[in-house]
Symmetry: C2
Subunit: 321 residues, 2 copies
């Protein structure tokens, strides 16, 4: 028997099945077909990016009370989605349920109600000082939804995430090099296989708890080699130890044949990232506190994607006019 870590198919075979898989596949197929046949910015179809965002959970019990989670607010994925939409991409936002949402980043974590006033006519309205931000967010959000450029797909567990990623990747492959993966989600490296998992809540009282976690198969290789071989692929590398960051980023670039790896440290990920390709490393820093680092990141990635599309189609597709 081949261990699941060497064999993605056995991971999928043993995973609890995705709910509403057929309905999700249908929405996804329609979204990709419509956008890839629409006129894109440089002629050809519209570019489509799958942004993954937030952390995946690893249930420790089948009827899940406890789980292992990965740190991720989903802020980077949400912000990046906004800038991809602005750059003319259609976005499949594959996100952790409850994580930060595009155009909702302005919302305070707490004291949400301070946002509102009740005016003289007893109408509830957004407080004056917040109104411009909210108004812009609503406008941009409505444009994305009404235009049909944004498809949101939620996940919670590693099982849901990888099944959805496979579904998106095999669908997006029809868009060829116009497809992009921006893999910002914090994906679990270790998990408890479903069939070896405790059915009920693990009881305390019996002394220390020993757990053995298996490695999650590395799906980046499968994504690249089988699911969507022509898509432009960007993965993220988050470390806490700066000594090994670049080495790990280079390894991901070579081993999984990513086009770009965005490397960042937990302590500074909001202020600085390093964009690593096989040709160069460039450090991107936040210029001022009101600027989103994602604005610069998406600009660079979009330029690199353009070059990639040109290369893939043997010469750039010209704008129709």
């Amino acid at each position: 028997m081949v261990a699941a870590e060497d064999n993605p198919e056995s991971f999928f075979a043993a995973a609890p099945p995705l709910r509403d898989a057929d309905a999700v596949a249908a929405r996804l197929g329609e979204f990709i077909a419509r956008n890839s046949s629409a006129a894109g910015a440089g002629g050809g179809g519209r570019r489509i990016v799958c942004v993954t965002s937030g952390g995946t959970t690893v249930p420790l019990e089948q009827r899940c009370v406890r789980y292992i989670d990965n740190f991720s607010s989903g802020h980077r994925g949400a912000a990046s989605t906004e800038y991809f939409l602005k750059a003319g991409y259609a976005v499949i936002f594959l996100h952790r349920r409850g994580s930060c949402q595009p155009y909702c980043r302005f919302l305070p974590d707490d004291s949400f109600l301070k946002f509102f006033d009740v005016d003289a006519e007893s109408k509830v309205q957004v407080a004056e000082c917040h109104a411009p931000v909210v108004k812009k967010a609503i406008g941009d959000y409505c444009k994305a939804i009404e235009g049909g450029y944004l498809l949101k797909l939620p996940f919670t567990t590693i099982f849901e995430y990888l099944q959805l990623l496979k579904m998106v990747a095999t669908s997006i492959s029809s868009a060829g090099p116009l497809g992009m993966f921006y893999l910002a989600a914090a994906v679990s490296d270790f998990y408890v296989p479903w069939d070896s998992m405790a059915k009920h809540k693990i009881q305390s009282g019996g002394g220390p708890l020993d757990m053995r976690l298996s490695q999650v198969p590395k799906m980046l290789s499968v994504l690249r080699n089988q699911w969507a071989p022509l898509a432009f692929c960007i993965s993220f590398k988050l470390e806490t130890d700066s000594d090994i960051l670049i080495q790990k980023a280079d390894m991901a670039l070579n081993k999984y044949k990513m086009n770009i790896v965005v490397a960042n440290l937990l302590a500074t990920y909001k202020e600085e990232v390093i964009i690593v390709t096989d040709k160069e490393r460039s450090t991107i820093r936040k210029m001022n506190k009101d600027e989103d680092l994602e604005m610069q990141i998406i600009k660079i990635l979009s330029q690199n994607h353009s070059k990639y599309i040109c290369g893939s189609t043997n010469g750039c597709v010209q704008s129709p006019d």
Copy 2:
């Protein structure tokens, strides 16, 4: 050496220190002193309840990327806080950062922006259909904040939670039997002691991961026996297996000398709970879909608390008029 699971003090000694502990202690002391000296509903001081809400995390690395989490939206704690405030209690809302907040339960998880309209004068306002709910929430929230009846204290890890709980309990003890604990938080049973924890992100690639988790010391005994011996204590028992639920609730009642245990099953916790005391068990069910189960729960608990105060003070304190 005594293991931390038998010795709460060694748990605290080894825990990473709480940030801003002095400032939190000062706010807490002021809140409790002011409310317990204010006139309460039945004469004497105002009753003060500490509602704990949401799940605690167990970091697996000191610079935390991965952690074990407990399932809890915080919905029950947030709803209960509203009903405690309505019943005249001052509430210390000890909650998981990012969990459900009082008076914010109406907010959709997703598609939050659908809540707003931009009117003809370009003013951002809450959509007509949601306005009554939002207006009531803002009104109730402002009343609680302006009256000084609600103190919110956030936590994330088990280390923060238990240090804050100890701080609240030792402060609230000055209110004697007017103090109440409503322990709805989902607290980790197992943890990795800080000093045996990996400093950096655990690297994958080396095969399966073996972990040994220690038991978190049972702080309910310490709360009851040392920190706040006169407070009225309610703990929760959540199980996935109905066969052991009542047995576990009875055990908690006896072992930790709780006044009441609220027992619930993961599959039905929104519709049904069993209120367990040493005298009786009563099942509370949701009457209709728009009613909060917490309305009934808090009514019963408040009545039991009244009897407890009467008993503790050798005869009921009469209303002054």
